[in-house]
């Protein structure tokens, strides 16, 4: 990244405490953080904000994480945005389902600290040669 541009992150999560926690931690990294509190709002914001990375929860009211994933992957304006699933669900099947849906990573909330999440985002955004 040659120009000094802030990394834009969109967090889509219905749990107030958790999304604030991740947002808080990202502020420290000087990220440009956007927050959506459910799936439908998340899809709308992804199109408006054009984030560098999306952190996506699965269990949400209305359109759930898999629905958001599908909709963002279908839309040509958002299909290139890397999506990291960030969920409390630890089932392998959810990981597999996310991978099939096009998510590039799966983070289990209870198994990771906010620092781990930052690490994942950095890794995702590092251009591979």
């Amino acid at each position: 990244m040659a120009e000094k541009k802030k990394i834009k992150v969109l967090i889509i999560d219905d749990d107030l405490t958790l999304r604030e926690m991740y947002a808080e931690r990202m502020m420290v990294e000087d990220y440009d953080v956007h927050i959506a509190k459910d799936g439908d709002e998340g899809i709308k914001m992804a199109k408006e904000v054009k984030p560098d990375v999306v952190l996506l929860d699965i269990m949400m009211p209305g359109t759930n994480g898999f629905g958001v994933l599908e909709s963002l992957q279908k839309d040509p304006t958002t299909e290139s945005i890397p999506i990291l699933m960030l969920s409390a669900l630890i089932q392998e099947e959810n990981k597999a389902k996310s991978k099939d849906g096009g998510a590039i990573g799966y983070i289990v909330k209870s198994e990771t600290t906010p620092a781990d999440v930052i690490e994942k985002i950095k890794k995702t955004l590092t251009p591979e040669n």
Binding site: T17, M21, Y22, R25, E92, K109, S110, T113, P114
Partner: protein, 579 residues
């Protein structure tokens, strides 16, 4: 009898039609008998034949209701036609009865009139039609109905047998005296059918035969009373009848008691089954609840741990106050413990629901144990324990099992030794090989301790783990041991040790904190891998040694064969870890 059947279910068309039938049959038999006895009364004969069409209608009707709920048109039509023909015969009979039977000398010796052969043929045709109809439907009937039909069929066969014997076979040999019993033999058909209708669900052909024969003998001996003319004979017959009645009554009573006891037992068994099912449902609900609750707990735990790690691990905020630091430290420790408990609960619910994923491969035990020991070194060092391995003369040993699960068992057992051994203890981890029989024996010893302490084994685990997984394979087992010189265990401790939420000693005063699920999980994980777990201690203060066995990797194919018989849940998951 007819009224009794009717009374049993007076709105049921089957019972109504059968009631009418048995009443008519009774009249028919009585008139026939009286006619046979008095021989010359044409009026009685006329009445006998007058009843028969109605009897035929009701006979077809109740048998039909036995098979289906509605009367089909073809059946009702043909029955009505048959009855009209029958009635025509009777009309002819009344106006000119001599045309049917011109002169009667005795029951079997009479000169027939011009239409008698026609009437006989017609009568047999009706009976044949009925028998054909019955057995045709019999073939199509289901298992439950067949049982009752068998009883009716027995009645039909008995009736045919007796009727043909007394009116064809015996007369051929010259015995004509019994011929008057040809029509009464229909009583067998009626009686067996009545029984079949009344006690549809209680069938034992022997008791049916006993009961009906007893009744019939009683009735027969009663009828004989009216026939006898001499006084001496009458007195003897009365005594005989009294004996019959008493004997029959006792017999029927005992059969009835037996039957009602059987019925009660059946009901009891059914109730028990129901209660058992409900209990299973409650158990499943409980496991489901734990699974849900654990999941819901994970979200707030993630938040607590996340923020605390930002304070502690990353030091993103400065905390000046030393006491605030101390308090937060306590919060952090408690939160980690809570996370562990939730993970353990999740694992218990997964095992009990049969949803724990097991992935077996060849495992190098030496390497795996060394790795676990290396992980635990820090914890052991905190309490100044020496933690060492001892592989004896078995340097390279392979098992066919799930390495993740072995690791979990080792961490649990070693973790316990580290926790419960006073500072500066010695803990040794190693393995040996033992004969399968010996392993089984050691495990049985544990069970004996359990029974001696009047404690029942945990049934939820027994139910959750498939027998195929529990089965020991091969002649020898690899036995891994964890030996410490710590607190030791009493027999009472050992009895409770592997149960859910069990803790050694009084947990309210316990300094060491645990979930009480570690050993329960270890037992489950061992038994899911064709192994056994047990413990030995020389008593309080003398240290204890935990053992768990694993199969040798040479048994790979046998294990695969056994494991393939176990149904794996679609949504099986690995162990939850919240370290």
């Amino acid at each position: 009898m007819s009224f009794y059947v009717w009374k049993a279910a007076f709105k049921n068309p089957l019972n109504i039609s059968f009631g009418i039938f048995s009443f008519l049959a009774g009249c028919w038999v009585l008139l026939n008998y009286l006619w046979g006895y008095y021989q010359t009364s044409h009026l009685l004969l006329a009445f006998t034949y007058l009843i028969s069409p109605a009897m035929i209608i009701s006979m077809f009707t109740w048998v039909n209701y036995l098979f289906r709920k509605n009367l089909p048109t073809w059946l009702s039509l043909s029955v009505i036609i048959a009855s009209i023909i029958n009635f025509l015969f009777v009309v002819l009979e009344i106006t000119q009865i001599r045309q049917l039977i011109s002169s009667v000398e005795s029951r079997t010796k009479f000169t027939t009139g011009p239409i008698f052969s026609l009437f006989t043929a017609y009568f047999f045709l009706i009976i044949l039609g009925f028998i054909f109809y019955f057995f045709w439907e019999y073939k199509k009937a289901n298992q439950g109905l067949k049982k009752s039909l068998n009883v009716i069929a027995t009645g039909i066969i008995l009736t045919i047998f007796i009727a043909s014997t007394v009116s064809f076979i015996l007369p051929a040999f010259g015995y004509v005296e019994l011929a008057i019993f040809d029509a009464p033999s229909i009583i067998f058909f009626v009686a067996f059918s009545a029984y079949a209708i009344l006690r549809l669900e209680l069938f034992n052909i022997k008791t049916v035969v006993i009961e009906i024969s007893a009744y019939l003998i009683m009735i027969l001996s009663f009828i004989i009373l009216f026939v006898v003319k001499e006084d001496v004979n009458l007195a003897a017959k009365i005594i005989l009848m009294a004996l019959f009645v008493y004997g029959g009554y006792t017999l029927i009573k005992s059969v009835k008691t037996e039957l009602s006891q059987q019925e009660d037992l059946k009901k009891l068994a059914e109730n028990l089954q129901l209660a058992n099912k409900q209990l299973e449902e409650v158990d499943a609900l409980k496991t489901e609840f734990i699974s849900m609750a654990s999941h819901e707990l994970l979200t707030p735990i993630s938040a607590i741990n996340g923020y605390l790690s930002m304070i502690y691990d990353e030091k993103l905020v400065k905390i000046e106050d030393e006491r605030a630091k101390k308090y937060l430290n306590q919060v952090y420790g408690s939160s980690k413990r809570l996370a562990k408990l939730v993970a353990a609960l999740l694992n218990v619910s997964r095992i009990e629901q049969g949803r724990l994923l097991i992935e077996k491969s060849d495992v190098m035990l030496n390497e795996l144990i060394e790795n676990v020991i290396a992980e635990l070194k820090l914890k052991a060092a905190e309490k100044k324990h020496t933690l060492k391995t001892n592989f004896g003369s078995l340097p390279e040993t392979q098992s066919y099992a799930d390495p993740d699960k072995i690791k979990e068992i080792l961490i649990n057992l070693c973790g316990n030794s580290i926790k419960y051994t006073p500072d500066g203890g010695e803990i040794e981890v190693g393995f040996t090989k033992q004969k399968t029989k010996e392993v089984e024996k050691e495990h049985e010893e544990m069970k004996k301790i359990l029974i001696k302490n009047e404690d029942a084994p945990d049934s939820s685990l027994q139910n959750a783990i498939d027998e195929n997984l529990r089965q020991l394979v091969g002649n020898e087992q690899i036995v891994i041991y964890i030996k410490d010189n710590g607190l030791g265990l009493s027999d009472d401790d050992i009895a409770h040790l592997f149960k859910k939420f069990s803790r050694v000693g009084d947990y309210t005063t316990q300094k060491v904190q645990g979930t009480g699920l570690g050993l329960y999980l270890s037992k489950a994980l061992t038994e899911m891998q064709h192994g056994r777990i047990w413990v030995k201690s020389d008593g309080i203060g003398k240290g204890s040694t935990f053992f768990f066995s694993l199969p040798e990797s040479s048994q790979r194919e046998e294990i695969k064969k056994l494991d393939s018989k176990v149904k794996v849940a679609k949504d099986a998951k690995p162990l939850a870890k919240l370290e």
